[in-house]
């Protein structure tokens, strides 16, 4: 049974990969600028924010929950950090990052407690905290942008690793992508090699069995929301390191994009299914679509239509694959 499940996820990821390759080839034929290291770094850099949040969303989805409050958490963390840096320009990057992650973790803890202690359905609990936090932040800031971050902070965002010649320039990997990769590795380790990780899959697969096997469902559930909140905090740092100022309105509604990335990458909103590798493919697919539509000069009025079609095709290919797989299985069973 486990083998079957493994095969399924494998084929799912392969179909996403195939779509990315087809898109990349088409876009490159129209515009050779697409397949350059510098373009890849640029698009992954701006999408790393969504990627980090999607990696936080992944365990939540696997456990059968959903976190709509990532948009308010990233806003809250960004504003807290902005105000903190304005008040303490002599601080350092470690404190700034930790502060953001702690604030995010606390926001996640509240979600976790609402879901586990008060038994509020996740979609309602996180919708509630999202609305409250967002409204409170807007009251506090009046929507005014926060700028004037210290130079040491901004220059940290310009750090690049390595030197790769590309399109006549020498580019390095931006630090924001390093964040994304580190988060990916951490999430993969947690899901694959820890008891907590196995618990997340177990709870998402079947709560009752998970309880009987001895998993502490409350603890697992609380953990995934804290994890999601913490990563939203890290995403806030990543964002400010790119855009250099804080617009409290910019992330309202971003939770849908984040969920879309995770689901495109093969996670199931029903729980129990999802991998880090798949989520990475989801991030790349989303980034390629957004970037590619401009590069192949699709008219702005049609970009969203094309985007919708690509998302539908990706998901249908997956559904069809699964159906074929299933049909084949039944056949084999009969023969045996």
């Amino acid at each position: 049974m486990q083998k079957v499940w493994k095969n399924l996820t494998k084929s799912k990821e392969i179909s996403i990969l195939a779509i990315i390759v087809v898109l990349a080839v088409c876009i490159t034929i129209v515009n050779p600028n697409f397949l350059t290291v510098s373009n890849f770094f640029d698009i992954m850099r701006s999408n790393s924010i969504y990627g980090i949040m999607a990696l936080g969303m992944l365990p939540v989805l696997i456990s059968g929950g959903i976190d709509l409050s990532v948009s308010s958490t990233i806003t809250l963390c960004a504003v807290v950090m902005g105000k903190f840096l304005q008040a303490n320009p002599g601080s350092n990057i470690v404190v700034a990052i930790l502060l953001c992650m702690v604030v995010g973790a606390l926001a996640g803890l509240v979600n976790g407690l609402l879901v586990t202690k008060f038994h509020i359905p996740p979609i309602v609990a996180t919708l509630g905290t999202q609305t409250i936090v967002m409204a409170a932040v807007l009251f506090y800031t009046n929507g005014m942008w926060i700028s004037g971050m210290p130079d040491w902070f901004l220059s940290f965002g310009d750090i690049q690793f390595g030197a790769i010649p590309s399109a006549g320039k020498v580019v390095g990997m931006p630090i924001q992508i390093l964040f994304l990769i580190l988060v990916g590795i951490a999430t993969w380790l947690i899901l694959k090699y820890t008891l907590m990780g196995r618990g997340i899959y177990a709870v998402g697969g079947n709560v009752q069995s998970a309880t009987r096997v001895g998993y502490n469902v409350s603890r697992v559930t609380t953990f995934v929301y804290i994890y999601s909140g913490t990563l939203a905090g890290l995403a806030a740092v990543t964002d400010i390191l790119i855009v250099k100022q804080i617009d409290p309105n910019t992330f309202s509604g971003c939770e849908l994009d984040v969920i879309a990335i995770a689901v495109l990458g093969g996670a199931s909103v029903m729980g129990g299914i999802g991998t880090v590798f798949g989520t990475f493919l989801g991030i790349i697919l989303m980034a390629v679509i957004k970037n590619g539509l401009v590069l192949v000069r699709v008219s702005s009025y049609w970009q969203k239509v094309v985007m919708g079609i690509i998302i539908l095709v990706t998901i249908s290919v997956d559904v069809i694959n699964r159906r074929i797989e299933k049909a084949r299985l039944v056949h084999v069973d009969v023969e045996e």
Partner: protein, 375 residues
């Protein structure tokens, strides 16, 4: 023990909420904000509100209107007129600035100004709030409608109650309003931005592109239309590379779209940015790619948000009207009408130094664009 912890947490949360409420109250007069260009973000926030509606939205809106009502009631006990100025939504920088102007005008003229609006760009909520104010009994209502058609019935009701009705920032039904305050003459503004762009490019030939806040924002589309017409008529050698690129009123999206744009069209000489997030967003993209000298950018922007991109020439010129003055003028005109003064070109009204510029008998124009350049 656990229960105690939970109740402790809950009470802390309650206390925080209460504090937040008070904070909102004291600053409620200033709360608010996004201009005409809000129409793009308006759509976005309206959508997010729809999704939020089931649980918390009513509470949030109550919280937002409560403090303002309180302050309104307190102010109403003083002398003079009571004027309600309602933005499309509160909590974005543009409408925060217009609010500061409106409240300042109230102080200078010695009248009561209530500046309040919904927390998202929601026409239905504007109607509900206006109905409350009509019942409460105010002297004038100045509204920046999210949806002009949705305002018709409530504004008719206001007129019947003898309340002076104005629109500002965005037009309502012209038959219902006593005066209409325009930020800018749309045609003049579009043409002005185009002229600025060509001046910064230093040439009348080459490729240019438009980055806009949203494809459905009427005022942005008007400016784009006039800018394009002006370019076609006056600079035949300029080549517009594509349709306007939408950026959902988001600085992040303006940033990444501009990066893509500059890669797709390496010979691009100029970018016109419509809507305030494009100024800092497009500017930052040009700055990061080091193209300050190759690419000219003329965009809408709030002055405070673009200092760093103005300084190194990433943004050549920021264009907008004076948001503070927009709120100020709105209140002055409402006050003049209440005092029985006729609004016509050349008239001088209390509180406003320059003679009015009036089009079509009702439309008061704020004035020419305010440009920001590197200091």
């Amino acid at each position: 023990m656990k229960k105690k912890l939970v109740s402790l947490l809950l009470s802390t949360a309650l206390a925080c909420t209460a504090l937040a409420g008070c904070g909102g109250g004291s600053s409620s007069s200033a709360a608010s904000s996004a201009p005409a260009e809000a129409s793009g973000s308006a759509g976005a926030s309206a959508a997010s509100e729809a999704s939020a509606a089931p649980s918390e939205a009513p509470a949030a809106s109550e919280a937002s209107s409560a403090p303002a009502e309180a302050s309104g009631a307190a102010e109403a006990s003083g002398d003079g007129y009571t004027i309600v100025v309602m933005p499309k939504l509160v909590s974005i920088p543009y409408f925060t600035m217009t609010g500061e102007g409106a409240v300042k005008a109230g102080e200078d003229l010695g009248i009561n100004v209530i500046y309040n609006g919904p927390t998202t760009a929601d026409a239905a909520e504007q109607v509900t709030m206006l109905e409350d104010y009509i019942t409460q009994g105010v002297d004038a209502i100045c509204v920046a409608p999210n949806d002009p058609a949705a305002m018709t019935s409530v504004l008719t009701k206001a007129k019947e109650a003898g309340i002076v009705v104005l629109d500002w920032d965005t037009q309502a039904d012209p038959n219902l309003v006593d005066a209409s305050i325009h930020n800018i003459d749309d045609k003049a503004f579009g043409e002005h931005m185009m002229q600025e762009l060509v001046a910064s490019m230093g040439t009348e030939e080459g490729q240019w592109a438009i980055v806009t806040g949203g494809l459905s924002a009427e005022n942005l589309n008007l400016w784009i239309k006039y800018a394009k017409e002006y370019a076609e008529a006056n600079y035949p050698n300029l080549e517009l590379v594509a349709d306007p690129f939408p950026t959902d009123e988001s600085q992040d999206l303006a940033y990444s779209t501009t990066q893509d744009l500059l890669k797709t069209y390496p010979d691009l000489k100029g970018i016109l940015g419509m809507s305030t997030p494009t100024g800092p967003g497009c500017g930052l993209a040009i700055q990061d790619l080091g193209l300050q000298d190759q690419v000219s950018l003329v965009a809408n922007a709030m002055e405070d948000d673009v200092q760093s991109v103005l300084a190194d020439g990433s943004l050549d010129c920021g264009c907008l009207w004076d948001c503070h003055d927009l709120g100020y003028l709105t209140v002055c005109v409402a006050n003049a009408i209440l005092n029985g003064q006729k609004i016509e070109s050349g008239a001088t009204i209390e509180g406003w130094d320059t003679p009015l510029e009036v089009l079509d008998e009702k439309s008061v124009i704020l004035g020419p664009a305010a440009d920001y350049r590197a200091k």
